[in-house]
Each structure stands twice: as C-alpha cells, then as structure tokens.
Symmetry: D2
Subunit: 322 residues, 4 copies
C-alpha cells in the first residue's frame, strides 16, 4: 500500500458543500444514539471489512425505509423493511461475496443478545471490492463481524480505507467510507456511505476525469440516520433523495451498479408534515454529497489483489478547482 | 415421530383440483430441465432441511419475477430479480434462522462451478420451522446444502416432511413440501411450495377447522416454474396469482406471514400475448392449490423441539368431505 | 328491465360470512363520518352511474393507500396516494370511458368548495359496464356527478343496480354495488365494492357455475373505510387483503381485470401495532366477501345495450346450498 | 408578454452537453415515427396549452414504462402501464387542473379513430402552471386537445413557451418545453420535457442562482422515446435515469414536485442485453439535461395571471459561464 498524501476531509481542502450547518462531528454519529464500528482486513491480496451502524434501541424496532436506485446488488433484509416499515437490527456493510457469511455471523451476535428470538431480519448491504481484494476468498469471519458491532462508538467514524470501504473505488479513484451530517431546527440528519461506483468525479460542479477502474462491480450503499419524527413512508422519500444526490458527485448510474439507500429514525413518534420536508431533503442531499467526497479525499492509494492499484484523488487537484 | 397414516397425494384421496390436465408427475419437475433435490435433518429436537430447485441452465440466467404477498420474511435475492428480471442461480428453501448460513454455503457451491464469478445473486427463501425444530441451533451445514443441490433430479420430489418442509405446519396441521403441475397447449406450469401458514384448511370449498399451531412464524414460499415464453413482467403476473391462490386452501394472510412467490421460465424468448394469459393464470392457481393440499396430505405427524407435536390431517376427514 | 325476484342481502338468504359482528347497517357507512351518494342512469341502452364515498373531513386529508391486484384499469389518483399516503378528496366510482369526464366534473365540485385550491388529486375508480351500457356514449354529465356527491348520506347505500354498479356483471350474473362492515374492539371496518369480474360464483365454498358474460372488461373496485388508527403503510396491508378476499367468492383474477382496493381511515393519529392487525385483516376479508355477495344478491336482472341481458343470481340457488 | 431576447437553444449559446452525438434535429422527433403537436393558449391571464407526443403505431401498443421520482402529481394512466408494460395511446401533457378535461377530450379523439374501442388507457401528464395562468378557469377545450394531436409533425417541436410549457417556470426562470436527442449505434434516444420545478439553475456544473418563483406547484414531466429494442423493464431503467438527470441542472427534488418520466420504444422486439445499457443510460441523461436547458433558454419572459412575471434566463449569463 502506498499513501503519501495525508487523508483530509473535503472541508479541510476548502470545499463547502451546501448551506446547512453540519453537526459537531460532521458525521452520522451526530445523530444521538447512533454508533459506528468497523473491522478492516488488509494484506495478502485482501482489502475488505465490515462497517456496522448501530442505533441504541434497534431491538425495539425503528421506523425505516429502503430506496432502490439500481437493484444490481444483494442487499439483505429489504422486503421486510418494505412491509413493516422498521429495522429491528443494526445495519452492516461489507464486500459482495461475504454478504451471507456476514449476515450469518450477525445472526449469531443477535441471538446471543436476545435469548427468545426465533426470527430476525438482519440488514446487510454490500458493494463489490473485488478489484483490490481477493473477493472469492471470503476472508471475513464471525470474529470480524462481532468486532465491528462490539466496537461501535459515537465518535467520528474512520473514513476512506476502513471497514467495508477498505477495498472500494469510485469515479476512477480509491474511495471507501465517508460520512457527513446536517443540523436542522427539529433534529439532525447524518449519512454514511460505502462508495464504489463509476462516473466522473465532480466537485461542486467541476469535473476531475480519471481513467475508469475496471471493477467487477460498481455500487453505492448509503445509510441515512435521523432523529426527526418521520414515518417510514417519509423516510422512503428521504432515501430516494439520497440516491438522487449521487448525481452531484458524478455518478453515471451504470447498469451494473447496486445503488441502495436505507433511512431510519431514532424517533418513534411521527409528527412531521410532508410540506415541511424541503429542508430535510436538502440535508440528505448535502450530507450524501459531502460524505461521498469524504470517502474519496480520506482514502489512500491502495494496492491489492493481483497487484491492482487504485490511486487516491490528489488533493491539490481538488484545491486547484476553487 | 408418530405417523400411522400412509402419506397420500390429495388426488389419491379422490380430490381433483381444477380442470386442467396435470403433467406426468404432477410436479414441478414436469417442466423440462427443472430438477429438485432435498436434504432432510431430523432427530434431537431438529426438524429442518434444504430444498433445491435447480433449472438446468441457470447460469445463463432465466427470466424471473418475485411477488411479495406479505413481506414478513427474509427472502434473499429479491431486489436484483426485480431490477434485472432474471435468476442466475438455483432456488433454495430452508428454515428462517439458517437462511444466511445456507446462502453462504450456496455461494461456495456456485463459486466452485464458476471459476471467474465475483458477483452472484443466490435466491434463498425460508419459513419458520421453530415450532418443531430447535431453530436457534442453526444445524444446517454446507454439506447439507451441497447435498440438496447435487442430488437434484427430474423425478417426483419428496413431499410432506422433507427438505425445507420437514418442520413446517400449516392451517393447524403438519405440512411441508408439496408440488403439482398443469399442462397447457404451449407448455407446462409446475409449482413447489413450502407451506407454513395459518388459517382454516379448506378443501374444494369445505372447511376442516383445527386448533391453531402456536408457531413463531407463519409463511409460505411458492416456486413457479414454466417453459412458456414469458418475460419477467408476465412472470410477475403469474407470481401474484400464486399468492392469490393461497386463499383457496384457507390462508388468512396473517400479518406475521412471509408469503412470497417466485416464478421463472426456462424459455428465454418471450412471445406470449398478455391477453392469452388466462389459462396460464388458471394453471398457476390450480397448481398452487393442489401443491398446498399435497404438502398437508403427504405430511406425517411429527414431534420435535420441546416435545411439540403437529398432527397430520386425517385423510378420512378429507375423503368424507366429498 | 326484468326483475321478478326481490333483491335481498345475502344475510337475509341465510348466509353468514365469517365470525366477526357487523355494524348496525352492515355497510361502509357504519364508519362514523363516511357517507355514500349515488346517481343511477338507466334507459335507452344506458345502464351506468356514479357512486361517491364521501368522508366528512376529506379536505384535511386522510391517511390512505392503494393496492393494485391487477392494473388493467384507469384508476385516477394513485401515484399521489402512493407518495403522500393520503386522500384529499372523496372517492368516486363510475364506468370506464366516463372516468375522465367524471373526474373533471369532480374537480369543478371541489374547486367550488375550496376557493384557493390550484392543485387537487381526485380519486376516481372504474369498471367496464359496456356489456349492458352504451359505454362509448359517455352519458354521465357534471350534474350526475354533483348529484352523487351532494346526496351522500350516512344511511345504508343502495346495493345491486345502483350508481356505478348499474351496469356491471360478475361471475356470470348481474352484479353491482355491495357493502358490508365489521366491528372490532377499537373501531369499525366498512367496505363498498363495484363488482364486475369473471370466475365462478362461490358462496361459503360452494360453487354456482354460470355461463360467462362476454363483457369487454372485467374488474373490481374495492373501497375500504375504517376509523382504526392506522398509517398509510398499514392501510396498504389492509388493501392487499381486500384483493386477496376476491378469491373467496370465486374471482379468477383474469388478465384483463382492473382490480384495485383503496383503504382510508378517518383517524389521523396512527397508534396501531402491526402485530395486532390479524383481526383488522379478518374484518377486511369478511367484509369484502360479504359486500361482493351483496352486490350479486341485491342486483336485478337487467337488459341493456344491444339487448344484452344479465340475469340476477336466483336466490333459491344460494338458499339451497346450505 | 415581454421578450427582448431571441430564444436560442443551449447549443447555440456554446454549451455542449455530454459527448454523444445528437440526432439531426436534436429532438424527440429524431426517433423515427414519433411526432409532436402543440396547442398554445395565451392572453387574458391565461398561459397554458397541450403538448402531444404521437408515435405512429400507438394503437398496436408500444413497450413502455413509467418512473415516479416524486409522486405529487396527477399523471393519468400509470397503473395500466405498470401492469401491461405498454402504452396504447399517444402521450399528452397539460396544466394540472385541466388534466381530466384534456383526458376526456383525448378519449373522444381516440374513440373516433377506433370504432370498436370500449376501453382505453390515455396517458396524460401535467405540471402546475398556476403562477402565470389562471389555472382554476380550465380554459382548455376539446378543440385545443384535438388540434395538438392532429397537428403532430416529425419536425423540430416548438420549445420554451409553447403547448404545455406556455406557463411553466423552472429554477427561478421562465421555462417550458424542451427537447434533445442522442444517436447510438443501434438506434436513437429522444427526450421531451415540460419543466416546472425548483432548485438552482446549473449549467455544466456552474450555478446561476435566481429568486425562487412562488409557484403553487413544482413538477417535471419527462417523455423518453427510442427505437432501441428494449422491453418494458429496461425502459423503466431508462426512465429512472431520466429522473436522476434532473439533478444535473439543479433540481432540488422538492416535496411538492410531481416528477415523472415515461419511456417508450417504437420497437416491439426486445433483443437488448442489460449489460449493454450503459450507453442508452448515458444518452437518456445527456438528452434530459440538454432538453431541460433548452426549455429555459428557448423560453421568453412572460407576464400572466395576477400580473405575475417570470423572466427568461439572460443568455449572456450562460455564455459568460464558459
């Protein structure tokens, strides 16, 4: 692995996305009660991992909805969220072929915490990190999964080459995990992304073209957390805006991309009028745009499987844009 | 396990469902190129298993669609089928908490057969067999999964207490796997069900009430296979009729039921006009009704987890109806 | 028009559907604040009309959802209900080719009642009454539409050959409008149907086959009203059960049928747990089954367009079943 | 009406959107067999109209699909397109409150052309032109509708203040109808838009902020025509990209916007592989972006209802961007 450039968040590079104020961490963990934990696997042709988004009270169920931008992905748990409008577990992200291995280890962890459970709907999203990671080896073990869940903390999550973003690439550059948040009068919106999709990197409208990375798959998983008092239908509206916001950084929404957004709220008493959703929508779109940029500027040049290298976006190219 | 009564298919009991002719086996395997394999686990409080529906040419993808009757279930693979309109793997059925363990073993099997695959969309359905099986133990191993896939044959599948139906109950009785088929001018429709839902057993319109079985979950997985030249949209229309047909045997479509139908065709050249779908719809509904009845009359009284017993429906009660 | 037989509701014929108690009227108008008005057009080859379901407080919006059983229909207003989860107008039913004429007259009526409205989402459902009515003539005028709306009352609605059911046929017999209700601990469920679909009439499981009526279209519109505290997602679950219940009276869910259910609640504060929906689901299914039977037993033999005659189901055939 | 500036298409202003070649007209009418006709109503506080997209062989049905970006709109015809995957009529666009009046006149026109039709599924989209037009007056008559249909021609459609775009505004400026096309190896993609939505105008990534126009509604209707051999599922994928592309010109996807895309093909024999859709997706997104820009640069400053004025975007502001 080569990584001369110090990872920086895009705001540190002088880029301000949108007009709404960020939370104190500018992260999904600005939403009270939402923690993130990650396990990172590197070395020997492997660059993969697990990212866990853990709401405090998941077991009591939380209102939630999923938006499918392009369904070329193996998202676990979607039909039950559609039917019941809730999540009943944390949300995990990982690499494509490890999805079910991770989901099964997740079930082990959940069963250990609920002695009477006989039905569980784990949520596991994935993108394909096969360009930099020997994906067919499926190196993730239950220990890795449990470590991600058990280490979840309310601090700023690691971005770039961490957890489920360790091996992902986007827009011709090394990418990974990114996060951001916005604060509104009545609550907070936080976003975490696993970026792994094609297109031309666009920063505040300016393009930074790069040679496409010949990945086996291209996808984007977006998690939106909030404490706004929204019901599942309204969270679905937020989730669709998360998909729309991918366009702002240059996604080409390619036919082989698994683009999903899942939105949940920690607030179980919906009281929000639809006509007032304009600012929450804006908050989602600004947070997704900034989280996607952070996933790139926080990533480091990485060499992995079959000696493939994906380069970090040079920060000076971004700084020179402005 | 107690099972005095010899299992019989519902036609052997004098019940004829509908008016269309059945295929030679009256089974999903009447559709050319469709095979079924099953692994059954019993004993020591366990009654569970795996059922594999294996189309010959799955790897080249087959047109398919999924209908969600009630999404309280963990069906793996649905969003990609929605997006691309195809299955690219066989279809597995199992017990709820084993779903992801089974899916991961399935990935192992698929990777071994495709040395270049880095993305796969396994289809795994489930119902909750926790009343008769120690579901939290998750006893299914990769060996069980691979045995079901490897043993797939074009003969009449085992019905009742076999494979994924080993521990399931429906309509107050022991149920399990059932299958049936209908032959049309232009092709065959075959159905296989994993029956595990609540309601009042209804045979050709006559009710046979039974004490409800206090199951932790109630669900029905329905697989519809055909060789009719249908596209994925049309297969979705068939799949919805499969859900509708559950009513004919007395399903109450309870809020906690995971009721899904997946329909696929072995024919990749769609040429069927929608106005001609009346008979295929009828074929699906007749086959589902008969397969569900077979899942009951072929099942045997079973004792399992925590000494729970589910009784087979007494055949004389059915014969006395007519 | 010939109609020797006195129309009777199916309960008067000794048929009791289900086990839950009905409301005082056994009608959708048992839901407090829900009124029904109808305009009936007959003579000169015309048998058509308008049925209006008018909730008192529609203008403040009411939680609602639509289920599409088979989308071969021209239902006006569905995408906005899907997005916002509410109705903002009454619900009208009519004949297919008059749908937009009716919707435009409906807009006139609504604009007159809201001097500032510049956007409205009228809900208009339809089925094809072209077998008995000269449908291409589109005889319904604004006066007819406004009369249906203005005459809405909380009494027992006319059933059979009334309003939008004047010219419809179902299951080989003359059909029309039907209604029924069920009372639960926490509220009431009421249903009104416009029945116009194919299949074999089934009464409590017993079939009464009849020569198919060669209608140009076959469809069923179902309106479910309640005062239970449900949100739009839950109302969608109820609406799907309304579609499933069509099977109980023998619907064949033919490919050319426009089968829709719209469910709304007069209660704007959702507090109902999904695990408690079993009885509301049962109430919907019982009410739909009984409303559909009422639509037949209350209808009278009718002769109309091109001298087509549709016969009422002979009551003694139903009474002899039991 | 004031309009000093000569309307120009955005390419005439030196702006080139994307990299794919346009068709000869750079319009939806580059797709062989697709014609456009429009009726424009202006004066006395009215700025509205009708735009008709008329495929030659509509009556034989054409594969089609609809994508709902935000369902706050009254789109007529969507559920049948979802079910059957075809359009069976031309597509009309108009102003919100005239939707059903237009649809009824459309039925008149269709019935006159098909002496045996008793069921029709007209497609009518709308946006709210109430800021510049006295929308409650519903001034559109059958004559206006029939004129739009009858005048349909394969030439370059009028853009800006024409037809259904006469009174619409977008991104703080006067907008209207826009069109564009792209030519691929295997066929052509053409787009026509009715632009009426909020956000900040963005031209090739550069923002041109403007005072928001206080419109009563904000929406965008997008029609995508092609002769590529796609089935309805694939056309749905194209339609979703049309919604995604709204972001490129600065849409904020506000909660009150009715954003819909309908895609159809004149080619009834689907043979296109999903893995080859990358370029068709690109063609859709480039065409939508350019059509939306054309809808603005071709529009003229307009004064209408209640003396509201919407200003055309000054061309020099766009030219100065580059």
């Amino acid at each position: 692995m080569v990584g001369m450039q110090t990872p920086r968040r895009v705001r540190e590079l002088g880029i301000t996305v949108g007009t709404l104020p960020t939370g104190p961490l500018n992260a999904i963990t600005d939403v009270a009660g939402v923690r993130v934990g990650q396990t990172t696997l590197t070395g020997d042709g492997v660059n993969t991992g697990v990212t866990a988004i853990v709401p405090d009270d998941y077991a009591g169920t939380l209102p939630a909805a999923i938006a499918v931008g392009n369904g070329y992905g193996k998202l676990v748990g979607s039909t039950q969220v559609d039917e019941l409008g809730v999540i009943e577990t944390p949300i995990l992200l990982t690499g494509t072929l490890s999805t079910f291995r991770v989901a099964d280890a997740f079930v082990t962890w959940l069963l250990a915490r609920d002695p009477s459970a006989t039905s569980l709907n784990p949520i596991v999203g994935e993108t394909n990190d096969g360009h930099l990671s020997d994906i067919r080896r499926r190196p993730i073990t239950p220990t890795h999964v449990h470590a991600a869940l058990d280490s979840a903390s309310p601090t700023l999550p690691l971005e770039g080459c961490a957890g489920a973003g360790t091996g992902t690439c986007a827009l011709g550059f090394k990418a990974g995990i990114g996060t951001s948040s916005r604060v509104l009068d009545r609550g907070t919106v936080g976003v975490l992304v696993q970026a792994n999709f094609s297109g031309v990197l666009t920063v505040l409208g300016k393009q930074l073209p790069a040679e496409p990375i010949d990945a086996d798959g291209n996808s984007c998983m977006i998690v939106v957390a909030t404490d706004l008092p929204l019901d599942s239908r309204q969270l679905g509206r937020l989730a669709r805006r998360a998909i729309f916001a991918m366009s702002r950084v240059g996604s080409d929404y390619s036919p082989g991309s698994g683009d999903y957004a899942i939105a949940f709220t920690t607030n179980r008493t919906p009281t929000y009028a639809d006509r007032d959703l304009r600012t929450p929508f804006q908050a989602v779109m600004e947070s997704v745009e900034e989280a996607l940029l952070n996933s790139l500027t926080m990533a480091q040049t990485t060499t992995g499987h079959q000696n493939h290298t994906a380069h970090a976006v040079p920060h000076e190219r971004i700084q020179n844009l402005t």
